[in-house]
């Protein structure tokens, strides 16, 4: 018998090959011979790329949401209730309305995230598939679907240009999560005031 591999080892190898989180236990040199860069400098470069992608995603989805006038009125009753809760906590009513609309329907931020996922998995066709899915999700959530569809369509090409320019698509996914964190996840009072100020600037 030449090979004595068990069924379990084949399956475990297969699983490990697609989820290898830790695979350089001292086997990797600290300085790359080809590019003369250390692991530290390449990590700093990665974080700078993620920050750049986050700024791009932030500007894109705020611009498209403001253009399609999400802060004007709540699309459903729940969006108005979230706006009232944010205002009660010391925030701005227009910014709170926009935050409620983001929560209760897939808008341009969801479009940007799913476009980045689509480009990461399947290239530009994946982004277009994500656009169709965002439109279906908008219709499910009782929304006309202009902001989400436009955002997903434009973000597909933004992410594709980013991958051509050296920023991989997975950094755009992380960047979009960071961008939504700054709006929805840190301080509702300050972020709603910021959104309200941008909305008054547009008017």
């Amino acid at each position: 018998m030449g090979e004595k591999r068990s069924l379990l080892s084949i399956f475990s190898n297969r699983c490990v090959s697609s989820f290898r989180l830790v695979d350089n236990h001292g086997s990797q040199h600290l300085i790359c011979f080809r590019t003369k860069r250390t692991i530290l400098t390449s990590m700093i470069t990665s974080f700078l790329q993620i920050a750049f992608a986050a700024v791009c995603c932030w500007v894109l989805f705020i611009t498209i949401d403001i253009i399609w006038a999400l802060p004007r009125e709540g699309g459903v009753v729940g969006a108005d209730a979230i706006a009232a809760a944010v205002e009660k906590a010391g925030g701005d009513i227009r910014g709170g309305t926009m935050m409620g609309n983001i929560v209760s329907s897939p808008d341009a931020s969801a479009g940007t995230l799913l476009a980045a996922c689509g480009v990461y998995c399947f290239g530009i066709p994946g982004g277009l598939v994500a656009t169709v899915l965002v439109y279906i999700g908008n219709r499910i959530c009782y929304d006309p679907g202009y902001a989400g569809t436009t955002g997903c369509f434009l973000a597909t090409f933004m992410v594709y240009l980013g991958t051509q320019g050296g920023i991989p698509a997975e950094f755009f996914i992380a960047g979009m999560v960071i961008a939504i964190l700054t709006i929805q996840g840190i301080s509702h009072r300050h972020s709603s005031r910021l959104l309200g100020a941008i909305w008054r600037l547009r008017k």
Partner: protein
């Protein structure tokens, strides 16, 4: 006989995690996944600490963003984007339902 055993056949088969369309995630994808996971944990802590129910929902939105990002990053397959989109749309619809119900529903 041992050259053509069951193991060789199994190695050639494609499964949901071993199709030829899947390349193993790169290290940059692992960094992005780690970042999404940290943000998901942070948003869960904020959800637990927030007393107002309506203001829990934006943190829940951040959580579902992170999880759908992790789904797409861990399944680099054309169907991974459909899985991520289905999860995200479903969680948004649930947030919509929770918010509208808590606000008193639609008045006739």
């Amino acid at each position: 006989m041992s050259e053509f055993s069951l193991f060789h056949v199994l190695e050639e088969l494609s499964g949901p995690f071993s199709s030829p369309l899947i390349t193993p995630p790169a290290e940059s994808a692992e960094l992005a996944t780690l970042l999404c996971g940290v943000i998901a944990l942070y948003s869960v802590i904020r959800i637990i600490l927030e007393p107002d129910v309506m203001r829990k929902l934006p943190f829940l939105n951040v959580f579902s963003f992170s999880i759908s990002g992790i789904i797409a990053l861990m399944i680099p397959h054309p169907l991974g984007v459909i899985a991520a989109a289905a999860y995200f749309i479903g969680s948004t619809f649930e947030s919509n339902a929770i918010a509208s119900t808590w606000a008193g529903g639609v008045e006739e």
